[in-house]
C-alpha cells in the first residue's frame, strides 16, 4: 500500500519538538508549553507543528472551556497520534543514525578536532 504522506523533514528543531512531545506522551500541550519543553523561543514552532499535523503525526483540538468564563481565548492542544508516536521514534532513531554515519566518515570529528 502507498504511504499516506511523506515524512516531514527532520531538522534540528523538528527533532527537539518531537523529543519534547515524546517525553510527555500522556499530556496534551499547547504551543508555549511545547516551546518551553523543547527549549525553543516562543512563536517559532507553528510551522513545525503544522507540518507534523499535516503528516498525521500530531492531532490537535481546542480546549473545552468557555473563553468568556476564563477571560482568555481557548488554547489549541497538541498531542502525538498513536501512529505518529511510533513514526516519530523511528525518525529520531534514523536521524541519530545519520550522525553516527557522519562520525564514521569523519573520525576526526569524534574527538572534536577540526584543525
Amino acid at each position: 500500500m502507498a504511504p499516506e504522506s511523506p515524512d516531514p523533514r527532520m531538522t534540528q528543531t523538528t527533532q527537539l519538538v518531537l523529543r519534547a512531545l515524546l517525553d510527555h506522551p500522556a499530556d496534551e500541550l499547547y504551543g508555549l508549553e511545547i516551546c518551553a519543553k523543547a527549549g525553543l523561543p516562543s512563536g517559532t514552532i507553528h510551522p513545525i507543528l503544522a507540518r507534523l499535523e499535516k503528516a498525521d503525526w500530531l492531532e490537535s483540538r481546542w480546549e473545552a472551556v468557555d473563553p468568556r468564563e476564563q477571560g482568555r481565548p481557548r488554547r489549541r492542544y497538541y498531542r502525538l497520534s498513536p501512529d505518529g508516536a511510533v513514526r516519530a521514534r523511528v525518525a529520531l532513531a534514523r536521524a541519530t543514525e545519520g550522525t553516527a554515519a557522519l562520525r564514521r566518515l569523519r573520525p576526526g570529528l569524534a574527538s572534536g578536532g577540526t584543525a
Binding site: T11, Q12, D27, A50, K54, R61, E69, G112
Partner: protein, 267 residues
C-alpha cells in the same frame, strides 16, 4: 463622588462575576457532564491516560476559577473598606477604563505588569499560566500578530488568530513583541506547511538577487570579469545565510557527530 457611582456599578458586576464563577466551579467539581466528556475520542480501555489528563486539566481550570473568585471577593472587600479603585501597591487611582474591563483589578496597569514580570510564565507550568491574569497586549504587537495571520491561507486564519492570541495572553509583556516578530518571520514557512507546497520562498530569492544585482552594478566599474565573479560570490554567500535551517541542521549534525560531548573545547 464619582467613585461612589462606580462602586455601586462595580459591586453589581462583581456579584454577577462571583455568581458565574461559583456556578462554573460547582460544575467542574460535580464532574460537569459537558466538561468531563470529550466526544471525539472513542471509548477504549487503552485511553485511561486520556481521561487522566482531562481530569488534570479540569483541575487546572478549577484552580484558575478559584483564583479569580478570590480576586472578586477581595475586590468586594475593598469596596466595603472604601479602598476600591486605588492601586494596592502605589495607592494611585486605577483608571476607570481598566476597572470597567476588570472590575476586580487591584493594581494599576504599571504595578500589575511589574508584578507579572517577576516570577511568571517563563516556566510555562499549566497551573501557573492559567492562574495568572492575561497580560495586556500593546497595539503594535497586535498589529504584527495580525499581519502574521493575514499572510496565512484564508481558511486557517481564524484558527491561528485564536491560537496566537492565547499564547500572547500567557506571555509576560516583555516577551510579547519578540514573540510577534518571530511569528511574522515564520508566517511564510507556516503558510508553506499549511498548503503543503514546496516552493522557493520569495523572500529568499529577493535576499539573494538584490545584493547580487547591486554588487554586479557596483563592480561593473572595475570591469566585467570582476563584476561576474563578485556577484556570484555574494549571491552564494547570501543563499547560505538565508537558508538558515539547512545551515543549522548541518551544524547540529556536526555537533552531534562530535559524540554528544560537551561543546567545550577538548583538553
Amino acid at each position: 463622588m464619582n467613585n461612589l457611582v462606580n462602586t455601586v456599578v462595580a459591586r453589581e458586576r462583581l456579584e454577577v462575576a462571583r455568581h458565574e464563577l461559583d456556578r462554573s466551579i460547582s460544575m467542574l467539581e460535580g464532574t460537569g457532564p459537558k466538561l468531563a466528556h470529550v466526544p471525539e475520542y472513542p471509548q477504549d480501555p487503552a485511553d485511561a491516560w486520556k481521561r487522566l489528563s482531562e481530569t488534570d486539566r479540569n483541575g487546572a481550570v478549577l484552580a484558575s476559577a478559584g483564583f479569580q473568585r478570590a480576586e472578586v471577593l477581595n475586590a468586594l472587600q475593598r469596596i466595603q473598606e472604601g479602598t476600591y479603585g486605588t492601586c494596592v501597591d502605589c495607592r494611585a487611582l486605577i483608571p476607570e477604563g481598566r476597572l470597567e474591563a476588570r472590575p476586580e483589578a487591584s493594581r494599576c496597569v504599571g504595578c500589575q505588569s511589574k508584578r507579572d514580570r517577576l516570577p511568571r510564565v517563563r516556566t510555562h507550568a499549566i497551573g501557573q499560566a492559567t492562574a495568572s491574569k492575561p497580560a495586556r497586549v500593546s497595539r503594535r504587537t497586535q498589529c504584527a500578530t495580525g499581519l502574521a495571520v493575514r499572510l496565512l491561507p484564508p481558511v486557517d486564519r481564524a484558527r491561528y488568530r485564536e491560537e496566537f492570541a492565547t499564547e500572547l495572553a500567557d506571555l509576560p509583556r516583555c516577551d510579547q513583541a519578540p514573540y510577534a516578530v518571530r511569528l511574522v518571520c515564520r508566517s511564510w514557512s507556516l503558510r508553506r506547511s499549511l498548503t503543503g507546497k514546496r516552493s522557493v520562498r520569495p523572500a529568499r530569492v529577493l535576499v539573494v538577487v538584490i545584493p547580487g544585482a547591486g554588487s554586479a552594478v557596483c563592480l561593473a566599474a572595475l570591469g566585467w570579469p570582476a563584476a561576474i565573479l563578485g556577484s556570484v560570490a555574494i549571491m552564494a554567500l547570501m543563499w547560505t545565510v538565508s537558508s538558515l535551517d539547512r545551515t543549522q541542521h548541518l551544524v547540529s549534525l556536526i555537533r552531534a557527530a562530535r559524540g554528544g560531548q560537551a561543546p567545550t573545547r577538548k583538553g
